[in-house]
Amino acid sequence: MTLLIQGGHVIDPGRVNGVADVLIENGTISAVGPALKAPAGATVIQARGQLVLPGFVDLHVHFREPGFEYKETIESGTAAAVAGGFTTVCAMPNTNPVNDNQAVTEFMLERAKAAGNAHLYPIGAITKKSEGKELAEIGDLRRAGCVAISDDGKPVMNSLVMRRAMEYARAFDVPVVDHCEDLHLSEGGCMNEGLVSTELGLPGIPSAAEDVMVARNVSLAELTGARLHLAHISTAGSVRMVREAKARGLKVTAEACPHHFTLTEELTRGYNTHAKMNPPLRTMQDVQAIKEGLRDGTIDVIATDHAPHATQEKQQEFTEAPFGIVGLETALPLTLALVDDGVLTLEAAVDKLATAPAKAFSLNAGTLAIGAPADVAIVDPNSEWHVDPARFRSKSRNTPFAGWKVKGRVTTTIVSGRVVFELDRSERQA
């Protein structure tokens, strides 16, 4: 199948930023340039006034399969991904069973292939059953197709185990991803510890619960020389420490989530369970620090931490409701809001959504270079729309952004040269 995307504003961070045509042949990018001629039989996609971007890469999603298919499946999750412009997603291992062995990894890859939406790369567990005790078969996980290892959600508390994981992972050049949370400091907590938690009488999670683990992980990365990727950092302290670690030349990358640079703990008032996630929404100062970290490059990557939960789970009492929100279908406009606010240039925003994450996990994605897989997101940057969870492709509706008026929308998503998502005409006006 041959596709010619005509007349769009092409941004391939560090390479192209201007109006050009993109030619796709045999699932790869074959040419990028002005006024390309459509080969015989080519399908032409008119992209005038739109952005033509490398498909986005999400290093942090929870697709719940196997084990929790009522929340999300790999099929529905990857459908949500392409609807949000993501052509590559990295799925966390906190499934049931935990992705701590080759069989689960292969199962997930099989499912993704059958779904035929986005590319899916599993992230393997660091320890068996993510129990933080014995190392998982990291080498085999890598060989089966895992692109990183993490005990996300159940962070490795034992620093010696973490040290061994980082050392061992070096043999396979696989990045170690940590959800930085000291489980003792955060015990029982369900929102940021601060004035709001004091008023609401909710058990708090102090910033320090994240900061101390960032500090530990940076120290261990320095000791072991491992590639460390810090998931969803949310505090000013984390940003400061990552900045300092990078300045010292450590192999540290960091991601931030749209909700952490968009929302504050104030949203928790009224015991809004859609404001419950981990790490929790923090203060305005933290939001400012995250934005500054994105601006100055301390934070490399924007990831969603897409965490679907069924409606009845989120309707529980605040303390009982599970952590997490879906994010794949709202990440783009929330990131573009940073461009409007002058925090990021458009090119930097694309870099953080596509190019930088691919680089962090060494994925063959995130670029429109000749010969690269033809993974493309076409975006109408000026389309204004209302977030309507009922229209989500995800199985779950747990978003704090319902009803928000946002700007910037994916109109077409192409994976390996195949159009996998096109915005319905009926939705364009929504």
């Binding site: 601060g194 004035l195 004091t198 008023e199 609401l200 009488g201 909710l202 015991y271 009492e317 303390t319």
Partner: protein, 306 residues
């Protein structure tokens, strides 16, 4: 007139006038409670459901008595842990109760915000009878009533709240209400029991009990959750009692005529010395008696047809 609200969930969104209205209404019921026949027909035909997910004999009995003295039908419902195991959510349970045409649901729950979650989901009026560490509005209102019945004005009143403020819904409700009414609120306890940001709620923070008691008109003791011993909040009960227990000597540091309050049940000899609990300055039993009148007032005010 009236409270103009469906639910009583928190004292943060009641105005000083609303609080005054509740206290004045309670006066009328205090009179009813003094009669030989302590019953009026005001809530005839109404159904009040005491939905207690956490055991609390005192609060439940107080609400039950209040509702009965208003001639309402009262159902006590204490969902066993088994229905929770079966996967019934709070909302499911409440909708079942609502289907029985409950007019008012009085909820006690271990989870902060449970009352608010419930109120959003049902048409019945919801009264928060304690939600986690969050609030216990009727307890604070009966505390205010007790203070007021001692002919103390709230403006400039110095109130020392002593103990585990961080984990106390009674403390929170009292802080919200007392600061709103112009009282000077002091909280005192070891730093492990005082939230870091509590000063922003307009209270003064003390870690030394003697200092906090100087010049206080009201000493409000909180119940020490003994099971928190050793879990890092305090090393031993003995040490806690020595540093933060209220003794007769310490009461003398307060303003002459100061009153001592406690929401009960008391750990005698821990947060409060037995002779203090039984002394003339103690109004602990008044609080219990006033609780019924205040809750009658609240039930009455909440019982409009909506």
């Amino acid at each position: 007139m009236g409270l103009k609200r469906k639910d009583l969930l928190s004292l943060t969104n009641l105005s000083a006038d609303d609080i005054t209205l509740i206290l004045e209404t309670a006066d009328s019921f205090k009179e009813v409670s003094g009669r030989e026949i302590k019953k009026v027909p005001a809530l005839r035909g109404k159904t009040v459901v005491n939905l207690f997910f956490e055991p609390s004999t005192r609060t439940r009995t107080s609400f039950e008595l209040a509702a009965k003295r208003l001639s309402a039908d009262v159902i006590n419902f204490s969902p066993s842990s088994s229905s929770v195991v079966k996967g019934e959510t709070l909302l499911d349970t409440a909708r079942n109760i609502e289907a029985m045409q409950a007019d008012i649901i009085v909820l006690r729950h271990s989870s902060a915000g449970a009352a608010e979650t419930l109120a959003r989901g049902v048409k019945s009026s919801v009264i928060n009878a304690g939600d986690g560490w969050h609030e216990h509005p009727t307890q604070a209102l009966l505390d205010l009533y007790t203070i007021r019945s001692r002919r103390m004005g709230f403006a400039g009143l110095r109130v020392a709240i002593v103990g585990d403020v961080a984990h106390s819904r009674v403390a929170r409700s009292n802080i919200f209400a007392l600061t709103k009414l112009g009282a000077e609120v002091r909280v005192v306890g070891p730093p492990t029991m005082i939230p870091l940001q509590i000063g922003q709620l307009g209270v003064q923070v003390y870690h030394n009990l003697d200092e906090a008691l100087r010049g206080a008109h009201v000493i409000m003791m909180l119940r020490l959750q003994l099971e928190r011993q050793g879990r890092a909040l305090f090393p031993t009960i003995r040490e806690y009692a020595r540093h933060y227990g209220l003794t007769g000597e310490r009461v003398k540091l307060a303003e002459p005529g100061a009153i001592v309050m406690h929401p009960g049940p008391i750990n005698r000899g821990v947060e409060i010395a037995p002779d203090v609990a039984d002394s003339l300055s103690s109004v602990i039993l008044d609080q219990v008696a006033n609780g019924v009148a205040v809750r009658m007032g609240i039930l009455y005010l909440m019982s409009g047809a909506g």
